[in-house]
C-alpha cells in the first residue's frame, strides 16, 4: 500500500514542490525573458507552452510563467533580467538570440537559464561545450551564422546575374561582425559587391532600408536577428517597395510575403526549451543537459512573390524547396 502511494506521488509532484519550496513559491516559477515583443512571438510562445503542457506543466496550474518583453530594445534587457531574477524564478527561458542570455550571464551563475536559438553558445561563453555545458546555462542552438553564406548562395541562384547584393545586419547582435565578414568573403569569391545596411532598432530599419535605392542592389539578404524576426512585417514592406529579391531566415517572413527563406525551424527550438524546462523543474542540472542543435534546415519559397518580382525560380530550387507557398 505504502509502496503504491510512493509510486503515485513519484518523481514529479514531490520534486516540483521541493523545488518550489526551495525558491519560496507555491508553484515553480518560470521566467521568460525575450528581446522580442509578445505579438510577434505569439506563435513561438504557443509552441513552448503547448510542449510544456505535454511535459506535465500547465501555466497557472502547477507552474507560473513570468514574462519580460524587451520589445526590441537591447538596453532594457539588463533591467528586465534583474527584475526577473528578483522574482527568484526556478528557471529562466532566454528568447530572441544571445543578448538576453548574455544579460542574464552577467547577473547570475546559479539560476538555470535555457537559451533559445543561440547562434554560438560556446563562442559567446554561455557554455563550456555543447555536450557538457558545465554551468547554469543550456538550451538550443541554431548555428544560423553559418547559414548566412548559404543564404547568399541560394539568392545568387535566383538572381544569377546580380552584381550587387545588400545585407541587412544588426550591429547589436553579438555575431553580426563575424557574419558580415563571412558573407563579405563569400561575396568576393562570387564577384559580388556587398552593401551592408545596419539597423539596431525599428527606427533604424526604416532609415536603413528606406535609404536604399532599388536600382542600386539586385538582391537583399536579411540577416538572422531576433529584432528583424519581430519586425518582419515592417521589413517585408520595405522589400516590396524596393522590389528586389530577398532571402530571410525564417518562413514567417515568406508567409508575410517575402520571397524565400532558409533556416532551421525555430519553433522546434522552443519545443526543446519546453522539454529542458520540464527536466530542470524535475531536478535535472543544466550543466548536464547538452546543447541541442538544429537538425532540420528548411527552404521555403513564395511563387506569388516571385511572380510579382517577375522572376522564376530555377528548377533545382523548386526541387530543393521543403515548402512552396503559391
Amino acid at each position: 500500500m505504502r509502496r503504491r502511494d510512493v509510486l503515485l506521488m513519484g518523481g514529479s509532484a514531490v520534486l516540483w514542490s521541493a523545488g518550489a519550496a526551495a525558491q519560496g513559491h507555491d508553484v515553480p516559477v518560470i521566467g521568460f525573458l525575450s528581446l522580442a515583443s509578445e505579438d510577434s512571438f505569439a506563435h513561438l510562445l504557443a509552441a513552448y507552452i503547448e510542449s510544456l503542457r505535454k511535459a506535465g506543466f500547465a501555466d497557472g496550474r502547477n507552474v507560473a510563467i513570468e514574462y519580460r518583453w524587451a520589445n526590441g530594445r537591447y538596453d532594457e534587457l539588463p533591467t528586465l533580467a534583474g527584475d526577473l531574477l528578483a522574482r527568484e524564478p526556478d528557471v529562466i527561458v532566454a528568447s530572441g538570440g544571445d543578448r538576453p542570455s548574455l544579460a542574464l550571464k552577467d547577473l547570475t551563475s546559479t539560476v538555470p537559464v535555457i537559451f533559445v536559438g543561440s547562434d554560438d553558445p560556446v563562442g559567446l561563453g554561455l557554455v563550456d561545450s555543447l555536450s557538457h555545458p558545465g554551468g547554469n546555462m543550456t538550451g538550443g542552438s541554431l548555428f544560423t551564422s553559418e547559414l548566412e553564406v548559404k543564404k547568399l548562395e541560394l539568392l545568387s541562384e535566383v538572381v544569377p546575374k546580380a552584381t550587387r547584393i545588400a545585407m541587412l545586419a544588426n550591429p547589436g547582435n553579438p555575431v553580426a561582425v563575424s557574419d558580415i565578414a563571412n558573407v563579405a568573403a563569400a561575396a568576393r569569391s562570387r564577384n559580388l559587391e556587398l552593401l551592408i545596411v545596419e539597423a539596431a532598432s525599428a527606427e533604424e530599419i526604416d532609415t536603413g532600408l528606406g535609404g536604399l535605392e532599388a536600382t542600386l542592389v539586385h538582391g537583399l539578404i536579411v540577416g538572422h536577428d531576433p529584432l528583424f524576426n519581430s519586425r518582419r512585417e515592417q521589413i517585408v514592406a520595405h522589400v516590396e517597395r524596393l522590389n528586389v529579391p530577398a532571402i530571410y531566415e525564417h518562413r514567417e517572413f515568406v508567409e508575410a510575403g517575402g520571397l524565400m527563406s532558409y533556416g532551421s525551424d525555430i519553433a522546434e527550438n522552443y519545443r526543446i526549451a519546453a522539454d529542458y524546462t520540464a527536466r530542470i523543474l524535475r531536478g535535472a542540472m543544466p550543466a548536464e543537459l547538452p546543447v541541442r542543435q538544429a537538425t532540420k534546415f528548411l527552404l521555403t519559397i513564395n511563387l506569388k512573390a516571385a511572380g510579382e518580382l517577375g522572376l522564376e525560380f530555377p528548377p533545382l530550387m523548386l526541387v530543393r524547396a521543403d515548402e512552396v507557398i503559391e
Binding site: S129, S131, V149, Y276, Q293, T295, F297, L316
Partner: protein
C-alpha cells in the same frame, strides 16, 4: 496456585500458537518462497525472451533506417558520368537530398574518383570541383564492397554523424558519399517501447553511444561516466554470451538488458527494461504473500488465544474441583459442558469424588469395626460389604470372660505407673491371642475382657474348641506374665470362664458409639464362671464341656452356686 495456573495458561497459549504457526505459517512461507522463486524464474525467462525479441526488432528497424538511406542513395549512382551530364547528376543529388532529411551533405564522384557534385545543408554547394577523392576512406572502402559505412564521429563534439558511401553496379556511374546526422535515429528509437518504461539504444563497435531515445544522452559525446557504464554493459552482454543480463542503466538504476547486433554497421542495439518494472509482478506476489502471512499470523494468534481460553476455563473448574475434593468436599460437582474430552474428564472427576466419598465412609466403618473385630474379621466384613452381618440377631455363640485375681487389691496400693505397665503387658498378650484366634472383643473394663466366638462370623469347626484353644493360649501367656510380676513383687492370678449358648448379638449404642456385643444368659453364665475360676483355671458349664468332651476331656468340679442362677451349675475345669 494462581501463579501456577497463569503459567500453565501461558504455556498452553504458546503451544497452540506454535502449533498454528507450524501448521499455517510454515506451509504458507514455503509456498510463498517457492512461488516467488518459480515466479521469478518464469518472469525472468519471459522477460529475457521478450527483450531478445525487442532488441532484434529494434536492430531491424535501425538497420532498415540506414538501409533506407543507402537504397535512396542508389538513385544517385545510376547515370554514367560523361563530360556534359553534370547537371543531371546535380538534379539527382538535390532530389536525393530533399528525400533524406538526415543527410547533411552529399558528394557525388565520378568513376575516376573526382568530386563532381557537393551539396550541403549548411556549407556552400560546390559543382565540378574535380577534387581528387581517391584517398578518401569511403572510396578505399568501396573497392571491395558496394556499400561502405564510416565510423561514428561527433559533430562539434556532440552530434553523432556517420558517412555512408554507395557505389553503382558499374564503375562508370561513380559513387555517392553522404554525411548522415544520426540524431534523427532518435525518432526511430523513441518510437520503440520496451514494456512501460524500457527503451532501446545503440552502441557502436568502439563502445560509444550512437543513439538513444533521450537526445540529451545522445549529445553528450565522450562522457566518462556514460562510457564506463556502456563498457560495463557491453562486457556483461559479451560475458552472458548473447543472453539478456542484469546491468546498470545511465541513471545508475538496475535494468535487464538484451542485445542484438547489426552486422553491417558493427553496432549493438540494446533493449533494456528497469528491473523494478520487470519484476513488478513478482514483487506484487511477494507483497501478497507477506500480507497473507501477516493475516495468517494474526489469525493463528487469535485462534490460539481463543482455544487456550476455551481450554483454561474448564481446566480451572477442574483444578478447583480437584482442590475441593482434595479438601474432602466429595459432594463438589464439576460442571463442564464442552462436549469433548474435558467434559469426560470432569465426569471422571465427579465419579472419583463419589468413589472417594464411598471409600472414606467405608474406611471409617472399618475403623469402627476394628475396635471390636479382629482385623481379619473386620476385613471380611468390610470386603463382603455385608454390614448386615452386624445386625442384631439370635446366634449360637461362645462367650469367653477373663480377668486377673488380686488386681483390685493391687490397684489400691500400687503406683499408677506400675498398674498401667501391668495392664499394658496384660492386654498386649490377650489382644494377640484374641486376634490370632479371630475372636471378637466385645468390651473390656479394668482387668476383665469379654470375647465372643462364632459371631459375627461363624467359626470353622467347633466354636468351643476354638474358644478353648484361645483360652489355653491366654492362660499360658498370662501365666508367664504372672511369673514375671511375682518376681517384681506383685502377686496376681488369672482366671477364665466360657460358655456356649444362644444369645442376641449385634451393635448396640448410640450415634458413633456403637459396640458389637452379645446379650443373653450365656453371657451371664460365662461371666459368673470366670468370677468363680481360681488362678490358672478355665471353667466351663456342663453343656459346653460335653460339647468338646471327645476332644478335650474336662474335669468336673461339681455343682456350684453362681450368682444370678437359681439352680446350681455343674462346673468343669480345663
Amino acid at each position: 496456585m494462581t501463579a501456577a495456573r497463569a503459567g500453565a495458561n501461558l504455556s498452553l497459549f504458546k503451544k497452540y500458537l506454535l502449533a498454528f504457526f507450524a501448521a499455517v505459517l510454515i506451509p504458507l512461507l514455503i509456498n510463498g518462497a517457492s512461488e516467488a522463486w518459480l515466479g521469478y524464474r518464469d518472469q525472468r525467462e519471459m522477460i529475457d525472451a521478450r527483450l531478445t525479441v525487442e532488441a532484434r526488432a529494434a536492430a531491424d528497424r535501425i538497420e532498415a533506417f540506414i538501409d533506407g538511406i543507402r537504397d535512396q542513395m542508389g538513385w544517385a549512382v545510376q547515370l554514367p558520368w560523361s563530360d556534359d551530364n553534370g547537371d543531371a547528376h546535380h538534379v539527382d543529388a538535390v532530389r536525393l537530398f530533399r528525400q533524406v532529411p538526415a543527410m547533411v551533405e552529399l558528394v557525388l564522384a565520378d568513376d575516376r574518383g573526382r568530386e563532381r557534385v557537393r551539396i550541403s545543408r549548411i556549407g556552400q554547394d560546390v559543382i565540378d570541383s574535380q577534387a581528387d577523392l581517391s584517398a578518401d576512406p569511403a572510396l578505399i572502402g568501396l573497392r571491395d564492397n558496394r556499400v561502405w559505412h564510416g565510423p561514428v564521429t561527433l559533430n562539434r563534439g556532440s552530434e553523432p554523424y556517420m558517412r555512408i558511401a554507395v557505389a553503382g553496379n558499374r564503375a562508370a556511374v561513380g559513387i555517392a558519399i553522404a554525411e548522415i546526422n544520426l540524431t534523427l535515429i532518435q525518432q526511430v528509437l523513441s518510437a520503440i517501447r520496451v514494456g512501460e518504461t524500457g527503451l532501446a539504444f545503440i552502441v557502436d563497435g568502439s563502445g560509444a553511444l550512437v543513439a538513444h531515445p533521450d537526445v540529451s544522452l545522445m549529445l553528450r559525446g565522450t562522457d566518462q561516466v556514460m562510457a564506463g557504464r556502456l563498457q560495463a554493459l557491453r562486457a556483461a552482454l559479451v560475458a552472458s554470451d548473447g543472453e539478456p543480463t542484469v546491468a546498470t542503466d545511465f541513471a545508475g538504476l538496475p535494468v535487464i538488458a538484451a542485445a542484438a547486433t547489426i552486422e553491417s554497421l558493427g553496432w549493438l542495439v540494446v533493449a533494456e527494461q528497469p528491473t523494478s518494472e520487470a519484476y513488478a509482478p513478482i514483487v506484487a506476489a511477494a507483497w501478497r504473500t507477506a500480507l497473507l502471512v501477516v493475516a495468517a499470523a494474526a489469525a493463528a494468534l487469535i485462534l490460539a488465544y481463543v482455544l487456550a481460553r476455551r481450554m483454561t476455563g474448564p481446566i480451572r473448574l477442574l483444578e478447583e474441583g480437584a482442590a475441593a475434593i482434595g479438601a474432602g468436599r466429595f459432594d463438589h460437582h464439576i460442571t463442564v459442558r464442552t462436549g469433548d474430552e474435558l467434559e469426560r474428564l470432569a465426569g471422571s472427576f465427579n465419579q472419583m469424588a463419589g468413589d472417594l466419598a464411598l471409600s472414606q465412609e467405608r474406611s471409617e466403618r472399618i475403623a469402627r469395626l476394628k475396635r471390636f473385630l479382629s482385623p481379619q474379621v473386620a476385613d471380611i466384613v468390610e470386603r463382603s460389604g455385608e454390614i448386615d452381618l452386624l445386625a442384631a440377631r439370635r446366634a449360637d455363640v461362645v462367650v469367653v470372660f477373663a480377668d486377673l485375681r488380686g488386681f483390685t487389691a493391687l490397684s489400691t496400693k500400687a503406683a499408677a505407673e506400675e498398674i498401667m505397665r501391668i495392664l499394658g503387658e496384660y492386654y498386649g498378650v490377650l489382644g494377640a491371642c484374641i486376634m490370632r484366634n479371630e475372636a471378637t472383643l466385645t468390651h473390656f473394663s479394668g482387668d476383665g475382657v469379654m470375647v465372643l466366638l462364632n459371631a459375627p462370623l461363624p467359626c470353622q469347626g467347633n466354636p468351643v474348641l476354638a474358644a478353648l484353644k484361645m483360652a489355653g493360649e491366654m492362660r499360658a501367656a498370662v501365666q508367664e506374665l504372672i511369673q514375671e510380676w511375682r518376681e517384681r513383687g506383685q502377686l496376681l492370678g488369672f482366671g477364665i470362664g466360657l460358655a456356649r449358648g444362644e444369645a442376641t448379638v449385634g451393635r448396640f449404642g448410640y450415634e458413633e458409639r456403637h459396640d458389637y456385643t452379645a446379650i443373653g444368659s450365656v453371657v451371664n453364665l460365662a461371666s459368673r464362671l470366670c468370677s468363680s475360676a481360681a488362678d490358672g483355671q478355665i471353667l466351663l458349664d456342663e453343656a459346653t464341656a460335653r460339647d468338646v468332651a471327645a476332644e478335650i476331656p474336662a474335669a468336673s468340679l461339681g455343682p456350684r452356686q453362681l450368682k444370678g442362677f437359681s439352680e446350681d451349675i455343674i462346673v468343669y475345669a480345663v
